[in-house]
């Protein structure tokens, strides 16, 4: 992941829709002065050595230095900062923990970076109604920690120790348990939002079904392009009565894939089903030392829920694994062993660094039944390019994370790895899938958007974006493949305040 491309493909761009984009560096001294008045001198960074910290998110091949980084401490400060940016027509990018993997929090050069890491208070816990209210900088793991042991917050991205709820809201984060439990969007019941013009509103809260259009549904997963969330109300759920976990080893991913199909086909919705291929097992084992044998595939299946239902289903699942050729099914005997299984799975990404100098993490989705044919195609591509591809999947929901290995010190290899990575996405699309299951589009995948969506679809997306952000100031250059202008708001005529005051005319 640390292979930095000298010239980032489709690198950081500022949408021409953003005022002054492409213009020579603007003098932002006045704006910076205002930001200092809003948050205090010590929370505005403008020195290059300070700003370097924020030049990339979790996707290091993209980097850009903003004009200023601002660290507001309250929702009101966020509102005032956004308002000041709107007035000065300067683009801004909100950033949580910066652990995203699509360059969604990549700063805009000459823009303002709004860093929300100071806002990490848990504001309310109401277990009777199954809700918590938190600030956006609170980490994902600390939500569960705050409501444990009786309750938990299901979305659990692998970065959950560091990633923030604000970032999860922006990316609609998933995780290993979302096949059963759903994604961030299924857990957000309210948001306090600052729209890109600086208007602040609360949508929803503790209750479901706020009146009007589903602004929560539109906002969650909008990758920071519709505004900034300053408070988040989340649904938390009772922790399962019991959790049963097993790892089964197979000679091939084919066998493991068929096992997944039969488990799900049989009416079981496991809490998690994760698959690793031989290369991923090798890397994970080196890092986590869970005692995994070097086999063709490993399948981690976790059942959670009522004691009775789990008991009945667990036998069934072990039998299915054996029927599909697994001669090595290991059941976690206690929480320690379960944690070891999971550590091996979650270490798989970082562990690739032990078997390859550099790698790209891909994030594609396919219909689960297409798993065998897509794996074959990935293997063929890997051979053709002479690059190792290790595979880690959330197998239940068909979310693949192929890790494309390369050596950045070899001339041209990073570019070839990038190309291979793109072809894997095309294989996912050909199978009827998606270019991203949980990492988001950001800057990294916007070039792939036209492969998944037609012009009319992108135009409909743009309508939504323009409704929230007609000036194009919120995280410009992300999600949409080509920069677009919003143009006038069509629709019924409304008198402009300047007209009403007799100061301007409309022709």
């Amino acid at each position: 992941m640390d292979g930095r491309l000298a010239a980032a493909p489709e690198g950081p761009t500022i949408a021409p829709g953003a005022p002054e984009a492409g213009a020579p560096q603007r003098d932002l001294r006045e704006l910076v002065g205002e930001l200092r008045r809003i948050v205090g001198d010590e929370w505005v960074y403008t020195q290059e050595h300070q700003l370097r910290t924020y030049e990339s998110d979790g996707l290091l091949q993209y980097h850009a230095i903003p004009a200023a980084a601002v660290l507001p401490g309250t929702a009101e400060e966020v509102r005032d900062v956004v308002r000041a940016c709107a007035r000065a027509e300067v683009p801004f990018v909100a950033r949580g923990a910066g652990s995203g993997l699509s360059g969604g929090a990549l700063p805009v050069e000459d823009g303002v970076l709004l860093v929300l890491s100071r806002m990490k208070r848990i504001l309310d816990i109401d277990l009777e109604n199954g809700r918590v209210c938190v600030e956006p900088g609170v980490t994902n793991a600390s939500v569960t920690a705050a409501v444990a042991p009786g309750y938990f917050y299901p979305p659990d991205p692998s970065s959950q120790i560091v990633c923030s709820i604000g970032g999860n809201v922006a990316e609609n984060s998933g995780g290993a348990h979302c096949f059963k439990y759903g994604f961030t969007t299924n857990y957000v019941t309210g948001l306090e939002l600052v729209f890109p013009d600086g208007e602040m509103v609360q949508v929803g809260g503790y209750e479901l079904d706020p009146p009007g259009y589903d602004l929560l549904g539109a906002f969650v997963g909008s990758e920071g392009t519709l505004g900034v969330a300053t408070k988040v109300w989340l649904r938390v759920v009772p922790a399962p009565e019991t959790v049963r976990t097993l790892v089964a080893f197979f000679d091939s991913t084919h066998q493991a894939g068929e096992t997944v199909s039969e488990i799900v086909q049989g009416g079981v919705v496991p809490g998690a089903i994760e698959m690793m291929d031989a290369k991923a097992i090798e890397a994970a084992e080196q890092a986590a030392k869970a005692g995994f044998p070097m086999r063709g595939a490993a399948l981690l299946v976790e059942l959670d829920g009522s004691e009775r239902e789990c008991e009945a289903r667990f036998e069934q699942i072990s039998a299915i694994c054996e029927r599909h050729g697994s001669d090595d099914v290991r059941v976690a005997r206690d929480e320690d062993e379960r944690q070891r299984f999971w550590k091996a799975r979650k270490a798989a990404f970082a562990a690739m660094g032990r078997i390859s100098p550099n790698y790209f993490v891909q994030d594609g989705v396919i219909p689960r039944t297409k798993l065998p044919e897509v794996l074959d195609r990935i293997a063929a591509l890997s051979d053709e390019y002479g690059l190792v591809v290790a595979n880690v999947f959330h197998a239940g929901d068909g979310n693949l994370h192929p890790l494309v290995c390369y050596d950045g010190s070899v001339e041209g290899e990073a570019e070839r790895a990038e190309e291979l990575s793109g072809l894997i996405l095309e294989a996912c699309l050909d199978a009827g899938g998606s270019i991203t299951g949980e990492h988001g589009v950001g800057v990294d995948k916007k070039k792939h958007m036209p492969k998944m969506f037609g012009e009319a679809d992108l135009d409909a997306f743009q309508r939504l974006r323009c409704a929230f952000d007609p000036a194009g100031l919120a995280n410009p250059g992300k999600v949409m493949p080509t920069p677009r202008l919003c143009g006038e708001v069509p629709g019924p005529y409304r008198q402009h305040p300047l007209e009403a005051a007799g100061l301007a005319d409309r022709f």
Binding site: V264, S306, G432, S434, A460, A467, V489, G491, P492
Partner: protein, 356 residues
Amino acid sequence: MTVEEAAAEIRERDAVRPRGGGTKLGWSPRGDDAVDFETRGLNRVLEHNEGDFTAVLEAGVPLAEAQAHFGRAGQMLAIDPPLGEGDAATIGGVMATNDAGPLRHRYGGMRDLVVGVTVVLSDGTVAKSGGQVIKNVAGYDLAKLFTGSYGTLGLIARVAVRLHPAPERTATLVAESDDAAALGRAAVALAALPLEADCLDVDWEGDRGRLAVRFGGTTAADRAREAERHVSLGGTRVEEDDHELWAQQRARQRSRDGVVVKVAGRPTDLPAVIRAAGSASVVSRAGLGVSYVAGADVATLREALAPRHCTVLDGADRVPDPWPAVDPGALKVMERIKARFDPERTFRPGAFVGGL
């Protein structure tokens, strides 16, 4: 009819009210001059990918028909709103009105089950969002935006949904009481337990109410009996033949000639909702805090339960203001959404919240 033909027809229209089975026509004012656009021609189940637990349906497919189709494979679309006269409610209509039934307790509403949508806008644009896979974060989620938009942004033409295994067996734990506060406490206590129940309802009529908790799966009856020990009310029983009971719960959400108000509250609000309902009947998704009150005076209910949002469903075309008040800042953005998606105000102008 194809979606493209529907688009060509809509492009020529000045005013459109999308209409599916026509079972919820009274749920909002008609909209100035709007002429019905019937989706009955869009009635095909386009795909049912059994192995993937997904399906693609045209908007005019009756939900009952879709369920029968999925049921043959032991699957279901996990939403069970009342289907109206002749079981005519369509998938598009249920989505447009954000209707749901008791299963919402476990599976959420349409917004949580739809993975992709194709819509027709007033200029004839056919646009899609999402896809056909259950996990996908590419692009904006227009499916959620159109869910509950009451046909005011455009026509929902095609819907891709996630399916779930249908439970082999169900069983329901029932408890009765004449003490609304005790019922409320019992429901909140059950909601805090990891029961993995499919449904959790409380209903109230006259001076008595009952709590009903439904379990699904091979061990449903055992789990229902086990849950009995967590209920501190007298007169509990387990019903294994529970289909009629839940059909009743759904029926309580509707009224042929009266007014039904949906109260979006918190689980702990339930006793207050029952009190405010007076002699009206209440059915509540007790773990969600969403209640349906049939036959109440709207103004009295709103006053007693403020600031909770009260939306009139049945009878909305007969009361002065069926919609709750919206935050003015949020309304501004909604107006801009309406203006971007439906600039000519073709789709049911003025029929939705805040005059949208």
